[in-house]
C-alpha cells in the first residue's frame, strides 16, 4: 500500500511556532498593560490561538460539513448558556429603578399624599414612621 499524502514537517513547526508567538504576545501584553483592556487582549489572543489549533491542528479546515456543524453548534449552545445566564446576573435588581424608562409602567397603586388622606376613616398617624 503506498503512503497517504501528508503535510510537510514545516507545516507542523509553523503551527506550533505561531501558537507560541501568540502566547508570547499575550505575555507581553500582560507585562506592559493593566486593566480590563489587557484582560480582553490576552483572552482575545487566546481566541486566536484556539482558531489556529482548531483549523490547522484538529483539521476542521478540511473536515466534513457535518463535523464542522457539530463544533459550531456546540459553541452556539455554549453562547446561549452564557448570554441567558448573564441576562439574569447583569440585570438583577435594576428593574424597580428603571421601570418607567424601560416599560413605562408605574405601580398601579397611588402613593399616599397630603395629610387629608385617611385610611378607613383613621388619619395616617404613622406617616412619619413609614419610610
Amino acid at each position: 500500500m503506498e503512503s497517504v499524502k501528508t503535510q510537510s514537517l514545516k507545516y507542523y513547526f509553523a503551527v506550533a511556532a505561531s501558537i507560541l508567538v501568540l502566547v508570547a504576545a499575550a505575555l507581553a501584553v500582560h507585562a506592559t498593560m493593566k486593566g480590563p483592556v489587557a484582560s480582553a487582549l490576552t483572552l482575545g489572543l487566546a481566541g486566536l490561538q484556539a482558531v489556529v489549533v482548531v483549523l490547522f491542528s484538529m483539521g476542521l479546515r478540511k473536515e466534513k460539513g457535518f463535523n464542522r456543524l457539530i463544533f459550531v453548534a456546540s459553541l452556539m449552545f455554549l453562547g446561549f448558556f452564557i448570554i441567558l445566564t448573564l441576562a439574569d446576573v447583569l440585570t438583577r435588581g435594576d428593574v424597580a429603578k428603571d421601570e418607567e424608562f424601560n416599560f413605562s409602567i408605574k405601580s398601579p397603586v397611588k402613593p399616599l399624599t397630603g395629610s387629608n388622606h385617611t385610611i378607613d376613616g383613621h388619619p395616617p398617624r404613622h406617616e412619619g414612621r413609614a419610610p
Binding site: M1, E2, S3, V4, K5, T6, Q7, L9, Y12, F13, V15, A16, I19, L20, V23, A26, L27, V29, H30, M33, K34, G35, A38, S39, T42, L43, L45, A46, Q49, A50, V53, V54, S57, M58, E63, K64, F66, N67, I70, F71, A73, S74, L75, F77, L78, F81, I82, T85, L86, V89, L90
Partner: protein, 214 residues
C-alpha cells in the same frame, strides 16, 4: 530502529467498508468534543459570573500565580500537540519506527506538564491558598478563596483530562509497537489527536483566564 511488523485492519462486520468505519469513528469523536466543550463551557460560565461578582479577588489571586510556570506549561502542551501530529504523519508515511518515539515524546511532555502543575499546587497548599474550608491565607480581598476554588476546580479537571490523555498515549504506543498503525489505518491515532488538541484548547483559555488577570 527495530523493524515493526505490519498488521492489516479489518472493518467490523456491521460496516460496509473501512471508509465508513473511519467516518463513523471521527463523527463520534467530534460529537464527544462537542460534549467536552459544553463540560468546560460550564466552567467558563462560572468563571465569567464569579469574575463579575468578585473582580478584586481575581486580580489579587492571579497575582499569586506564576505566569512563568503557566507559560512553560503552555509551551509543553503546544509542543506535545506537535509531536503527536508528527506521530500520525509518520504512520501515514509508513515510517513505523518513528511512531513510538514521537508518542513517547508527547507522553513525556504531558508528564512535564503535570510535574510543573504539581509544583504549583504544592506551593499553593504550602501558602494556605487552598479552596474553602482549609483556606488560611489572608488576602486583601475578602473573597480571595473564591478565586482559588475556581483555580483548583478548573485546573484540577483539566489535569485529570491530561492524565486520561497520557493513558491513551500508552495504549497507542502498545498498539504501535505491534504494527497496528500504517498508511492503511490510523483511526485511533486520529481520535486521540482530536482529544489531545481539545485538552490543549482548554488550557489555551485557562492560562490567560487565571494567570494573566489584571
Amino acid at each position: 530502529m527495530s523493524q515493526v511488523p505490519r498488521k492489516e485492519h479489518h472493518a467490523a462486520h456491521h460496516f460496509d467498508d473501512a471508509v465508513q468505519e473511519r467516518d463513523a469513528a471521527l463523527l463520534g469523536m467530534w460529537l464527544f468534543i462537542g460534549q467536552e466543550l459544553l463540560f468546560f463551557g460550564g466552567l467558563a460560565v462560572l468563571y465569567i459570573v464569579m469574575r463579575l461578582q468578585h473582580p478584586g479577588a481575581f486580580v489579587e489571586g492571579s497575582g499569586h500565580l506564576s505566569w512563568k510556570l503557566g507559560g512553560l506549561n503552555t509551551a509543553f502542551l503546544v509542543v506535545s500537540s506537535m509531536t503527536l501530529g508528527l506521530a500520525i504523519r509518520s504512520a501515514k508515511r509508513d515510517e513505523a519506527g518513528k511512531i513510538v518515539p514521537f508518542l513517547g515524546a508527547t507522553f513525556l511532555l504531558a508528564l512535564s506538564f503535570l510535574v510543573v502543575k504539581g509544583f504549583e499546587y504544592s506551593e499553593k497548599i504550602h501558602h494556605g491558598l487552598v479552596p474553602g474550608k482549609w483556606f488560611s491565607a489572608i488576602g486583601a480581598d475578602p473573597s480571595l478563596h473564591v478565586f482559588f476554588g475556581m483555580y483548583f476546580a478548573t485546573t484540577g479537571l483539566h489535569a485529570l483530562h491530561v492524565l486520561i490523555g497520557m493513558g491513551l498515549l500508552v495504549w497507542l504506543m502498545l498498539r504501535a509497537r505491534r504494527g497496528h498503525f500504517h498508511s492503511g489505518y490510523q483511526t485511533p491515532l486520529d481520535l486521540v489527536n482530536l482529544y489531545w488538541h481539545t485538552v490543549e484548547l482548554i488550557w489555551i483559555f485557562l492560562f490567560p483566564a487565571l494567570y494573566l488577570v489584571s
